[in-house]
Symmetry: C2
Subunit: 323 residues, 2 copies
C-alpha cells in the first residue's frame, strides 16, 4: 500500500508498504482523511525516535473486522493500552487505576511503537474505535481526536463563567481549545503572534489580543498551546497568584523555569494530553463546536511532504491528507 | 532594642534599633523564642533584597495592645494583608477573593516590607495573632508557623490512606511535612541525602530511604522540601504519570525543566507556601505532631550570626534564638 514513512528524521512516500493485518480484537480501517498535527511535525523534527508510518488524526471505514463493525465509519483513540484488548485481566498498574492514557505498555498511533494513519490502511483495536454519526462530514470527523484533547482540560481544571481564561497560541490546537472553553461561558481571551490566528479567533466570536496586550497576572487559568518553549513563560506571566497553568504544548527540549517563585505564588501547573472522545463527538454533531473555518487545505497523500512543510508555517490552519 | 539587622547581604546584631510602635489594630509583642528557617538563610544569600530585621517563626507575649490582648502568649500569621486591618472595605482583588496569603499589598514578617522577630520586640496586626494554649511550651509553639506551612499541602492535594507519597528532603521543613502527611495514614516515604535527617525520620516511625532507593514513577504525590534546584528533578522522577508534585522549596534561581514531557505525562505541579494556623496549633496541642526531637539547639540572640551559620549546615535540625 501507499503511505508516508519516517526513518532517521527523513520523510518519504512509499508505495511498497505491506498491508496491515488485524490481530485478535482488532480491525483494519481504510483511511479516508487524515489531519496533520503539531506532534507529527515535532516527530519529523526528532521529538521522538519514531520509525514507521506517522499520523494519528483520521476518519476511516472498517474493511476487516467482526461483522458488526464492517463498513462502519470510525475515528479512534490513539493510545493502545491494556484496556484495548479485553478481557483485560493482566492490566498494568496505570490501567488498573483507570489511567489508560498512561498505560505503561502503551503504543501510540503513529507516535510510538505503532504505525499510524498517513497510509491507505491502519490496524487498530476495536476497543479504540468510535462510530461517526451518519450526518457528520469526514472533514468534521477528522477533528474528533484533537478536539478530545481540548476537552481533556475540562476534566482537569474547574472552569466556570467567572473564570478568567487565557489561551496562548491561536494555532490549530489553540483554536480548538478556545472553542471548547468558550462553551463554558468563561471570560475568555486568546493571545498570539499570528495575525491569521487572531483573526480566525475573532471570527469565532472570541476576544483575541496580541502578546503585548496580555494583562500580567490577570487570569485565573492560562493554557499554553504555543508548541514552543517560550509559551510557558508567556502563560506563566498571565496567571494570577494561586492560579492554574495548563500545558498543552508538546515539544522537544527544555525550558528554564523559576521554580522558587512558583512555590511562592502557589501556581498549579497541569500537563494535559489526550482527552475524551464522547464530548468531542457530541459537540461536533450538535454544532456546539464549529470547525468549518479551521481547514487550510486538503492534499493528496502522495504530496504529504509538501503538506508537512506547508503545515509548519505560522498561522496555517489544519492541513488534511486525502487518502 | 537589640535585634538582628540585614542590609546589603551583611548580617549584624545591633543594640541601637528603635522599639517598634503599634499602629491602629496592632500590638507590640515581646519575642520569647524565634526559629531559624531556610527562608531566613536564603534571605542572607540574597533571595530577596530585604533590608531590616529578619525572622518570622516565633512565640511571644503581647506587651502593648488592647486590654483583652495584654499578656497573651501568641504566635502570628506572617502575611500582613488587607484582611489584617478590619474593617477591610477596600480589599485588593486577591483578598477580595479570599486569597489573603497572596494579598497584592502584603508585607511579610521579616521577609518583605516589614521588620521580623529576630529582635526583642515586633509590631503585628491583632488580626494576625493566635493565642497559644497555656500548657504548650514555648519550644513547641515556635513550630506553629512552619507546621502550618506543612498543613497547607492538605488544603491543596487530596491525600488518602491509599496515596503513595514521597517527601524529598528530610530537613527542617521536610520533617514537619512528613509528620503531617503521616497523620493522613498515607503510604509515606521520606528520601534524602542527610543521614541525620533520615535517622530522625525513622525515629518518628516513618520509612526513610536514600536518594538512590527512590523507585522511579512509584509515587502518586511527591513533595520537594529540599530547598535546592535539584530537588525538583528528584521529586519529578519519583512521580507516576498523572501524579502530583508539590513544591515546598523556596530558593533563588531557576531550574531547567523538560516542559514537553510534563504535558505528555500530565504531571500536576503545585506550588505551596504558607498554611492554616488552627490545625497546626491543634496538632501540637494534642501531640498528634511531635516536635521535641526537631530542636538542634537554642542560642542567645546576640549569637545570631553563629546560629545562622550553624543552621545552614546539612542535617542540622531547628536552631532557636532565645530573646
Amino acid at each position: 500500500m501507499i503511505g508516508v514513512w519516517i526513518e532517521d528524521g527523513r520523510v518519504e512516500v512509499r508505495s511498497d508498504l505491506p498491508d496491515p493485518t488485524a490481530a485478535d480484537s482488532e480491525a483494519v480501517v481504510a483511511v479516508k482523511i487524515a489531519g496533520v498535527c503539531g506532534t507529527d511535525l515535532a516527530l519529523l523534527d526528532g521529538y521522538k525516535s519514531f520509525r514507521g508510518i506517522p499520523g494519528h488524526e483520521f476518519v476511516g471505514v472498517v474493511e476487516k473486522g467482526p461483522p458488526g463493525w464492517m463498513g462502519a465509519r470510525v475515528v479512534a483513540d490513539i493510545n493502545v493500552t491494556c484496556a484495548s484488548y479485553p478481557p483485560a485481566r493482566d492490566r498494568c498498574p496505570s490501567c488498573g487505576w483507570g489511567r489508560e492514557t498512561h498505560c505503561e505498555r502503551r503504543t501510540i498511533l503513529g507516535i510510538s511503537g505503532r504505525d499510524g494513519v498517513f497510509a491507505e490502511k491502519v490496524a487498530l483495536p476495536l476497543a479504540n474505535l468510535y462510530r461517526v454519526p451518519v450526518l457528520m462530514p469526514d472533514e468534521v470527523a477528522v477533528f474528533v481526536e484533537p478536539l478530545a484533547a481540548a476537552y481533556r482540560i475540562l476534566e482537569q481544571v474547574e472552569i466556570t463563567e467567572a473564570t478568567r481564561v487565557l489561551v496562548v497560541g491561536p494555532g490549530r490546537l489553540g483554536q480548538l481549545v478556545a472553542r471548547v472553553l468558550a462553551g463554558t461561558g468563561a471570560r475568555l481571551k486568546v493571545a498570539g503572534r499570528s495575525e491569521e490566528g487572531l483573526e480566525r479567533t475573532r471570527r469565532a466570536g472570541i476576544t483575541a489580543v496580541t502578546l503585548e496586550e496580555i494583562d500580567p497576572g490577570a487570569f485565573d487559568v492560562a493554557v499554553d498551546c504555543t508548541g514552543h518553549p517560550d509559551g510557558f513563560g508567556l502563560a506563566r506571566a498571565a496567571v494570577r497568584a494561586a492560579g492554574t497553568l495548563v500545558l498543552k504544548s508538546t515539544f522537544p527540549g527544555r525550558a528554564l523555569i523559576e521554580v522558587g517563585s512558583r512555590a511562592v505564588d502557589e501556581i498549579t501547573v497541569v500537563g494535559s494530553r489526550c482527552g475524551p472522545f464522547r464530548p468531542a463527538l457530541a459537540a461536533l454533531a450538535s454544532g456546539d463546536v464549529d470547525v468549518a473555518d479551521l481547514i487550510d487545505s486538503a492534499v493528496p497523500l502522495p504530496d504529504a511532504p509538501r503538506a508537512f512543510e506547508h503545515a509548519s508555517r505560522p498561522g496555517v490552519a489544519k492541513v488534511l491528507l486525502e487518502i
